[in-house]
Amino acid sequence: MELFLQLTLTGLTNGAILALAALGFVLIYKASDVINFAQGEFLLIGAYLIYAMVVQFGLHWTLGMVITLLIAILLGVLIERLILRPMIGEPLISVIMVTIGLSSLLRAVVSTIWGNLPQAFPSFIPTQAVQILGAKVGADRLWAIGIAMLMLLVFNLFFSKSKEGIAMRAVADDQTAALSMGISVSHIFAWAWALAAVSAAIAGALVANIVGVGPELSNFGLRVFPVVILGGLDSIPGAIIGGIIIGLLEAYTGGYIGQGLNQVLPFIILILILMIRPYGLFGKEIIERV
């Protein structure tokens, strides 16, 4: 029972972080139909930026976080403007490959600046163990769940209340109709990339606090695929629930079965979901016409 609780809490934390990483992925796909293979690198950059701010420049973590987020916004907008905008109307494979190229480039830049070795990270969120129903869990993990939930709530409010959020949903629904209503689609794309970079940077900072920074953080880019396919590529609630389900499954298989099965199980689920219900739990079914 204690193990079960322990695994559940670990799974929820990992799930929350996965959900945050997946959120950016879904935002971009929803607004512009682009699959972002560089999402993991966004997370990596977020983690290294906060590392640089707190450790290398010695800033307080709140200030460091603000600067990190500003840089993330700038990066997202720049990438959209310089790399993704020329890809509008290009075939799918070009769009996929351009984000893959981008991921190599970003990874190389990060490794050039910060090297290739994992770095310990002085936790800015308290890490002492907390007892919950007999299971011990680091306070930072609880914080991670809390922050992730808060972020998801904020994003949800953004989409339901703010003008930009509603405009984004309009663009996702029908670009031509949105254009004719006076919405600037290119601004919305920039918004989507900026928000994706922000959510990835926050996820990166959370991961960095729990496990430290290192180049292998970019693996999150691959790990979000089962999450978004399970939840539905264009669904924000799907990203959250998908993230939590995958996080829990990974923790349970890792804890009870082991043998590294937790690395591959999400991808087996991914294939099963694709075979049974390709649009995921909450995604919109697309009917194609010639």
Binding site: M97, S104, P226, V264, I268, P278, V290
Partner: protein, 347 residues
Amino acid sequence: MISGIYYTSYEQDMALRKTPAQRIRLAILILLLLSFPFFASRYYLTLANQIGIAVIGAIGLNILVGYTGQISLGQGAFMAVGAYTAGILTAHYGVPWWASIPVAALFTALVGTFFGLPSLRLKGLYLAIATLAAQVIILWIVTHWKAVTGGVEALVVPTPKLFGVKMNTDFNFYWVIWGTAVLITIMTVNLFRTHYGRAFVAIRDQDIAASVMGIDLFRYKLLAFAISSFVVGLAGALLAHYRTIVNWERFTMDVSVTYLAMIIIGGLGSVTGSYLGAAFMTLLPALITNLGRAMKASFPAIEGLIPFIQLAIFGLVIIIFLIFESEGLNKIWKDIKDYFRLWPFSY
């Protein structure tokens, strides 16, 4: 005055080499291929062999991605299947190396067809993600099925010998690799003159329209997966016997991405493009390494940065090609030819 190439008969249109210039270029290329190992140094011979294997792999991927329009991110894993099958057959079961290569290719075709099954329901993006999952799952099996593959430890393959001659020297294996490459080239070029190849292209252009025209989508998509992974498996098997060591790290997701980059930079749906892309993506890292070493004297710090510079330029090259010349090197090569053919009135 020539204004373009026009055909006056069906035979002309179907010919593989349509103009005298094309025949001359082919003859020069063949001469170059035949004479290259006799004057090249060992370093360049190794590069040529790497390019040869890359050419086979790139053609295999291009059959699936470029000609049939089924995006695959599982290239690395399919090469791993070919390499491990060939390696295990020779190392554990004593199958002669030359016999293990076709068997490995056939087995890869089987595995590729299995992972092509989702293409019945999925296309485009979703299929790409399914093949990504195939990559992760296959590589996981390779690294965890210790009894057969040796897990994360490298699998050592016995030295290939033919009539008592060691074959895994660069000079001897050159003929094996490039012989296979030429065979595969002839097969592929001809494949797309048959109704199978045309069905593949029809599926790429508009799959629903193709099925309305009477093309059995499921059958032809699976066939494309089978043929493509056969060729890819061949590349993997050759790699196993050439290196005589099989290591899972040579077949990661990065390999899949590199091969996709080859066919995109070379030109999708083009055999010439596969050659150009394979050569470009093999020579580029080698060039960067050499440049880096040459600059070591003036910038000592550069040596440690070489892998990162390679990665950065790799990403940059993909982005630049996609933004400025999405049809790849093959298009540039065509433009150059057109320029000279139509000179001085090339508009």
